[in-house]
């Protein structure tokens, strides 16, 4: 399967030049760009590992791209995403989110069905890779 979280997962993988344009868009909007990675891509895993804090003070896309290269070097076998945080009142949340790195093999999720009364099913998603301990999943 292909994990399709994020803004651009239905497109061909973005090149570094294309990623840089999106980063520039975020910075031009005054947002802070962040890099996060994980080997637990469950859709409700809201807290991926942070590659440092959001980069509030890096206003040059080239600087972000250097950080991305370093993150890829350390975690190239995992999912990596770029996020942008907007601190403006009324938002104070994420405004941009796309995946920039993914494992070679994406085994996906099992859907577990707990059968209850009255045909009610309690569903649970379990990532196949998640059976392994962190660091040995992909």
């Amino acid at each position: 399967m292909r994990l399709t979280q994020g803004q651009f997962s239905f497109l061909p993988e973005l090149t570094d030049a294309e990623i840089k344009l999106q980063v520039a868009y975020a910075l031009n909007n005054g947002w802070a760009v962040a890099i996060e990675y994980t080997d637990d891509p469950h859709p409700r895993n809201y807290y991926w590992s942070m590659w440092g804090n959001p980069m509030f003070d890096i206003r040059d896309p080239a600087g972000i791209m250097l950080e991305l290269a370093a993150c890829r070097k350390a975690h190239g076998d995992k999912y990596i995403k770029i996020l942008a945080f907007d601190s403006q009142k009324g938002w104070e949340s994420i405004r941009l989110f796309f995946i920039v790195n993914r494992p070679k093999d994406e085994p996906g999720f099992a859907l577990e069905r707990g059968e209850g009364i009255g045909r009610r099913t309690q569903y649970a998603l379990r990532s196949y890779a998640g059976n392994q301990p962190p660091g040995r999943r992909y």
Partner: protein, 487 residues
């Protein structure tokens, strides 16, 4: 000009002599009145009967929507009637439309019960709309003061929290209404939900008239839909939702359905506008209490929003619904099959989404409207839209919107999943191009054609619907045209 003979009578003995006075004489027209920051303001479009002058008509509207009755009553004198009387404070002709006037009326905040749309509307659109001296009457816009707004819950979830829950940022959300609207069995219905969500949509949706009919009872629908939702989540790694319509005959039935949806793990439920303002507010409270997104389908609104001379403008309905506390509202597409002038739609979208909406007559907004930190209401664009219009939709409607392609997903020649994929690819490539600084209004068709080279479903969608437009004149447009400014 006010004729002296009809001016407000200040001699109390004369004012309260039994009999009939003009509404102006009773004090409902006060051209010198300065609205207070705490006043509720309304602007009506008046079409008086022949021989009724506009100031008297405006005064009558102010009177009939506040304290007045047709004749003088002495019991007014037991109250601070001056204070409770609504005041028509400005009357001006509608540009280019003889026989119609805009009347601005101020209501003291104490005329209304806190947190009650039912009470607000019982005055503002109550008896007054049937008043004989008027041929027609339309409520065009309202200014709700922050003081009164703060007595309302506002959207149960709001755009920001909805996005955090759905884990979708930086692009419009995608949805589709299940078709055919009526007749599918629960099992077949769930199939359409599953295919559309797995193909790439975030949401699927019950239609407004899907409740619990002989061909599909509600429990059966919910159970099969949640199977589709969860299967699609497993196959994509995304959070998916389906708007389970809980509209029913009684509040007890609606709560029962909503609780069942919650217990099955649904992230969203839906209601129809026809359930009424009080029921909507009840469901909004329930949704806030149960961490549920609340979708509102505006079934019925066109009976009173569409004609310019009589009824209630949809921008007012949108305002009331943001106060009432729904999270989604159908708010027009501009390019689709349903009514929608671009300027009117812009005004409605701003009303839903902004923290402060400035007066803008070209967008049909007559007042500055502060929103006092009430959450943002997500507009939904639905009805006759397709992937080939993606650049227009993104330009007109922006990013914080649910784009719903029902026929445009389910009617795809390669199947439902392919239809969903075409929509998602069209959306993502257009957002990407916009962020890159490309002029999507001009280059849109080319951007779509480029993506269609590697995405066969998008190619098929563009070929199938390339000539489909709904190019009819709007019946509800704005009255103020831009005045060219000298360079």
């Amino acid at each position: 000009m006010t004729k002296p003979v009809d001016a407000k009578i200040t001699n109390m003995k004369e004012r309260y002599a039994s009999g009939v006075l003009k509404y102006r004489q009773m004090g409902y027209y006060e051209p010198d009145y300065q609205p207070k920051d705490t006043d509720v303001l309304a602007v009506f479009r008046l079409t008086p009967q022949e021989g009724v002058d506009p100031e008297e008509a405006a005064a009558a509207v102010a009177g009939e929507s506040s304290t007045a009755t047709w004749t003088v009553v002495w019991t007014d004198r037991l109250t601070d009637s001056e204070y409770y009387r609504a005041k028509a404070y400005r009357v001006e002709p509608v540009p280019g439309t003889p026989g119609q006037w805009f009347a601005y009326i101020a209501y003291d905040i104490d005329l209304f019960e806190e947190g009650s749309i039912a009470n607000l509307t019982a005055s503002i659109i109550g008896n007054v709309f049937g008043f004989k001296p008027l041929k027609a009457l339309r409520l065009e816009d309202m200014r709700i003061p922050a003081h009164y707004l703060k007595t309302f819950q506002g959207p149960a979830t709001g755009i920001v929290v909805e996005r955090e829950r759905m884990n979708v940022y930086g692009r419009p959300l995608l949805g589709a209404t299940m078709k055919p609207k009526l007749g599918l069995s629960g099992r077949n219905y769930g199939r359409v939900v599953y295919e559309a969500l797995t193909g790439g949509l975030d949401f699927t949706k019950d239609d407004e008239n899907i409740n619990s009919q002989p061909f599909m009872h509600w429990r059966d629908r919910y159970l099969y839909c949640m199977e589709g939702v969860n299967k699609a989540a497993a196959e994509t790694g995304e959070i998916k939702g389906t708007y389970l319509n809980v509209t029913a005959a009684t509040m007890e039935d609606m709560y029962e359905r909503a609780e069942f949806a919650r217990d099955l793990g649904s992230v969203i439920v839906m209601i129809d506008l026809v359930i009424g303002y009080t029921a909507i507010q009840s469901m909004a409270k329930w949704a806030r209490k149960n961490d549920m997104i609340l979708h509102l389908h505006r079934a019925g609104h066109s009976t009173y929003t569409r004609q310019k001379n009589h009824g209630v403008s949809f921008r007012v309905i949108a305002k009331w619904m943001r106060m009432a506390g729904v999270d989604h509202i159908h708010a027009g597409t501009v390019v689709g099959k349903l009514e929608g002038d671009p300027n009117v739609i812009r005004g409605i979208y701003d009303t839903c989404r902004e923290g402060f909406v400035p007066r803008n007559l070209q967008h049909g907004l007559f007042f500055d409207q502060p929103w006092a930190s009430l959450k943002k209401l997500m507009p939904v664009a639905s009805g006759g839209i397709h992937a080939g219009q993606m650049h227009q939709l993104l330009t007109y409607l922006g990013e914080d919107v649910v784009l719903q392609f029902g026929g445009g997903t389910i009617g795809h020649p390669m199947g439902i999943q392919a239809g969903a994929q075409a929509n998602r690819v069209a959306l993502e490539c257009m957002v990407k191009a916009r962020n890159e600084g490309r002029d999507i209004w001009k280059e849109g068709p080319q951007i779509l054609a480029e993506a269609a080279k590697w995405c066969q479903p998008l190619r098929a969608a563009l070929d199938t619907w390339k000539d489909v437009t709904f190019d009819y004149a709007s019946t509800d447009s704005v009255d103020y045209v831009p005045t060219p400014t000298p360079a």
